[in-house]
């Protein structure tokens, strides 16, 4: 379906909803074309190609609210789908806070080129995709004869969506994503088969790193796990690799939402304007970052994207306020979700940070665990490397870290200068002191 046809269909859905009795409605129509390749043992293992369409419809009738989605976009099907949606909504309780966002919250312009659509997408040939995956596998296998298994992967996505609200909002966005990577398993010589992976994702095909580097990084990440052991429980300095830092910062995300505040499930309730971390931590949500994997003009509710400082020199600067819970709390909506997360980066590189550690643990990955948004308690499984006198001496695994977010973040000792580029959360290495590790 062409863009204009999609916009026309969205407008038709809005009109039909009104005809069926809706006071207000919001519709999104999305289209997603995806190709996935897996390559192993020097041959193609799996190819998947698909085109997916979906329609999401929010209905407001007599202050009652419901949400509906379907993959069947034929008008004759949609007509009865919408009719049923409106009729079933009437059975719910009225909720005065349920309305579309005030039009003043919608974006004024959507002109800036965010550089999130690669115009060359159509020129990529199937054979080229397979060839790239083959090269990644070859590069990984060349790293060591201890490699038991490698699966190399390539995938790309072209997605576009239009969004129309009955009170005047209309937006559309088209994006591309390209991903390449490999998963590598090695023989540790004593019955274990440690594995690791490396994947890179970009908005533009040409920005993907070279295949030989991807294969090499994936293999080296697995190889450095050979000989991993758990070590003594205790308090250690902890340095977290940039690709894993998001796991820790995410413990703030839900508690920062208006929903968590209103539902009394936030350990950040009452902390606005107060320090929750040392001054070296400044966190920004930047939806306009060029080529950002999270870049956008508006959020899922049509609310205009804006650059927000979430944590300013350690002080909680804002909550994430969506339309509904914002209205319930009397707060101005500014979007309940995040886009690209950036930090004020520090001076030291990852290697320089390692050199500052007398005895500590470098985290290369988390496994399992969870955090409690109401209390801030958390506990995660880890894998990594024991650092002594500024150098890695021993791979470690089968250990946990535990703590409470509010005290834990106060032990943040350093922020690296190495943002991880292949995620919408571009976080650097983070170093903490006195972290509780459980091992032997």
């Amino acid at each position: 379906m062409k863009l204009k046809d999609r916009l026309d269909l969205a407008q038709w859905v809005i009109k039909t909803a009104v005809k069926c009795g809706a006071d207000e409605s919001a519709v999104s129509l999305s289209n997603r074309r995806e190709v996935e390749i897996e390559y192993r043992d020097k041959q193609l293992d799996k190819v998947k190609e698909s085109v997916q369409n979906s329609l999401d419809l929010n209905i407001y009738v007599d202050q009652k609210y419901s949400g509906h989605s379907t993959s069947d976009l034929r008008k004759e099907s949609l007509k009865s789908f919408i009719d049923e949606a409106v009729r079933s909504t009437r059975y719910l309780s009225a909720d005065p806070y349920r309305t579309l966002p005030d039009p003043s919250l919608y974006p004024e312009s959507m002109d800036k080129d965010l550089k999130i659509l690669d115009a060359g997408y159509e020129q990529i040939h199937s054979r080229e995709r397979v060839e790239l995956a083959a090269q990644i596998e070859e590069a990984a296998l060349a790293q060591s004869d201890r490699i038991i298994s490698t699966t190399a992967g390539y995938s790309d996505v072209m997605a576009s969506s239009v969004k129309v609200h009955s009170n005047g909002f209309q937006g559309q966005i088209s994006t591309t994503q390209f991903w390449m990577g490999a998963e590598v398993t090695v023989d540790d010589g004593r019955g274990g088969r440690p594995e690791d992976w490396f994947y890179a994702g970009t908005r533009y095909f040409k920005d993907l790193p070279p295949c030989d580097q991807i294969g090499k990084w994936a293999a080296q990440r697995a190889l450095r796990k050979i000989g991993q052991e758990k070590i003594d429980s205790g308090k250690y300095v902890m340095l977290v690799e940039n690709s894993s830092s998001a796991q820790l910062l995410r413990m703030f995300q839900f508690p920062m939402t208006a929903r968590a505040l209103q539902q009394k499930r936030s350990f950040l309730d009452g902390k606005l304007g107060q320090p929750i971390a040392p001054e070296i931590l400044t966190v920004t949500d930047d939806p306009f970052l060029e080529k950002g994997l999270g870049s956008r003009y508006y959020d899922g509710e049509g609310i205009a994207a804006q650059t927000r400082t979430l944590i300013d020199k350690g002080v909680l600067n804002t909550y994430l306020v969506d339309n509904y819970y914002g209205r319930k709390l009397g707060m101005t909506p500014n979007s309940g979700g995040t886009s690209n997360i950036l930090l004020d980066y520090g001076e030291k590189s990852h290697e320089e940070l390692i050199q500052t550690i007398d005895k500590g643990i470098l985290i290369t990955g988390f496994i399992g665990g969870n955090s409690n948004s109401t209390t801030g308690d958390f506990s995660f499984g880890i894998m990594g490397l024991l650092i002594e006198n500024g150098a890695a001496v021993q791979p470690v695994n089968e250990m946990n870290i535990s703590g409470n977010a509010l005290t834990f973040w106060n032990k943040l000792a350093a922020v690296g200068n190495d943002p991880y580029p292949y995620s919408s959360w571009r976080l650097p290495s983070l170093m903490f002191e006195d972290v509780d590790f459980s091992g032997i």
Partner: protein, 499 residues
């Protein structure tokens, strides 16, 4: 009563198709064809196109899924969500290689286009004549009294209001409650190039109660849920009472909870959802794709001893009304009770079609997929340990200092290294053979094969998990369950506070 958003309205204005899901108890193959607007001839044409490049095998997986969710928040049922998806996935196999495509439009033209895309995994040009389709009979592990399509939103709303009233009446410390009622039905039809055709109606129901309480300025949250392949009759007055009381008790107990000391200690796993230990410690490692690729720590260990002789672990697709049960798997194979470990000996991997062919064994009925949008993987169903020789009381009494783990939220495993974790939402300390103070929010981490060896006592009180577990693998989520009798693991690493 109205049969509101629960009816798959997409079919209503489509005279060529059924007006709603056929009565699951009296459904015929012709009803299933009619439901998806196809005929045997159309399906055979699609299969022929899919095999036109020389593929060895093809299956077409038709699915219509309707999920209805209603939610209570701030004491009102004030939100409802419906999701309808309809489509067909076409898979072509050439040896171990897979070509996959799907279409959301069920016209012969759209299906043949998807078939052509999937066909391209092969390139020999050799074709095989498509077989006539013959219905494969399957059992019925989850009959329900009333199809969900006939249950209106007005019938479900009172359940949520009732539970909410009970939650607030039970304890004055409760300040918030969120309650969700989710019902989902999948109608599927699978046809294979080997001439098998099968259809299934799969119901699923779940109520989740989340609760937040406040005491002396401190807040705690927890939840309780009940789920299964069930109809609305599952939510009996007793189950409604339990949903409220368990949610409240599990929340308020946390006010007394402490964090254990960090380190290695004996852990007693309570009967029930502690089966997450099996899911992570051994279940994933026994999924045959990981073994075919030689990336599981259990690769090459079949017929070797892995645990004490009183340890028997199964993965079962045949338990009545349990969340992971299937009348037929997602590639038209029969499900069964598969022994992973029998009397301490590692017995069988969990197979899909590709791995069964690779190992030269019969498929175990573990071929599953999240929806028509995904290809098949070997996946668990209901994974549990059979009863052992000990009692719960003697197991707890045998521990001088350890942890009693009761309720869990999530787990994860590294297949090759064998490291696995699971997150204990609530439990208790064991001191001198007695359960003492409650604990909360600790992660447990262990190594699969080591933990199996360290299972030193197994109780006689096996219980299945009651909640709505979903297992994620390769980007696909499928419903599963698990179960365990009370079990003692002699040592495992518990996250906690360093002394």
């Amino acid at each position: 009563m109205i049969a509101a958003a629960t009816i798959p309205a997409i079919f209503r204005s489509e005279p060529a198709r059924a007006l709603s899901v056929p009565d699951p108890d009296n459904m015929q193959l012709s009803d299933a064809y009619h439901h998806f607007g196809v005929t045997e001839a159309i399906i055979r044409d699609v299969i022929a196109e899919a095999l036109s490049m020389g593929g060895d095998y093809c299956d077409v997986y038709f699915e219509q899924n309707v999920t209805n969710t209603i939610g209570l928040e701030d004491k009102e049922v004030n939100r409802a969500y419906t999701d309808v998806s309809l489509g067909a996935g076409i898979r072509v196999l050439k040896g171990d290689q897979t070509g996959y495509s799907f279409t959301e439009e069920l016209s012969p033209k759209a299906m043949k286009l998807a078939a052509k895309t999937a066909a391209a995994i092969a390139n020999s040009g050799k074709t095989a004549p498509p077989q006539a389709l013959k219905l494969h009979d399957i059992p019925s592990y989850y009959p329900i009294e009333t199809p969900w399509e006939q249950v209106g939103i007005d019938q479900k709303i009172p359940y949520l209001q009732n539970i909410n009233d009970k939650v607030f009446a039970l304890d004055s410390r409760v300040i918030k409650s969120n309650i969700w009622f989710i019902n989902e039905t999948s109608m599927i039809l699978i046809a294979t190039s080997e001439g098998r055709v099968v259809y299934d109606y799969r119901p699923m129901a779940r109520i989740i109660v989340t609760c937040t309480a406040e005491q002396d300025g401190r807040r705690e949250s927890n939840y309780f849920d009940l789920a299964g392949r069930q109809g609305i009759e599952f939510f009996t007055p007793e189950n409604v009472d339990r949903l409220a009381s368990e949610a409240v008790e599990r929340t308020t107990a946390l006010f007394k909870a402490v964090k254990p000391e960090a380190g290695v200690m004996p852990v007693v796993l309570a009967a029930g959802s502690s089966g997450i230990l099996l899911h992570e410690a051994i279940g994933h490692g026994m999924e045959a794709d990981f073994n075919r690729k030689k990336i599981s720590i259990f690769s090459d260990k079949i017929n070797k001893p892995v645990a004490e002789s009183f340890v028997t672990i199964v993965d079962d697709g045949t338990n009545p009304h349990i969340r992971g049960s299937l009348n037929v798997d997602d590639e038209a194979n029969d499900t069964e009770k598969t022994y992973l470990v029998e009397n301490g000996i590692l017995k069988s991997y969990l197979h899909d079609r590709i791995s069964a062919r690779y190992y030269g064994v019969k498929p175990t009925g573990n071929g599953r997929r999240e929806s028509f949008r995904y290809s098949v993987q070997p996946r668990m169903r209901n994974t549990y340990m059979e009863n052992g020789p000990h009692t719960k009381e003697e197991i707890i009494a045998s521990v001088k200092k350890g942890l009693y783990a009761e309720a869990f939220t999530n787990g994860e495993v590294a297949i090759g290294a064998g490291d696995f974790t699971f997150y204990v939402k609530s439990g208790a300390l064991i001191e001198d053979g007695k359960i003492t103070r409650p604990v909360k929010d600790v992660n447990i981490i262990g190594n699969g094969p080591e933990v199996l060896r360290n299972i030193v006592m197994v109780g006689n009180d096996m219980k299945m998990a009651e909640g709505g577990w979903t297992c994620g693998k390769g980007g696909q989520g499928v419903p599963v369950s698990m179960g365990l009798p009370t079990v003692l693991v002699s040592e495992i690493t518990v996250g906690g506070v360093s002394s």
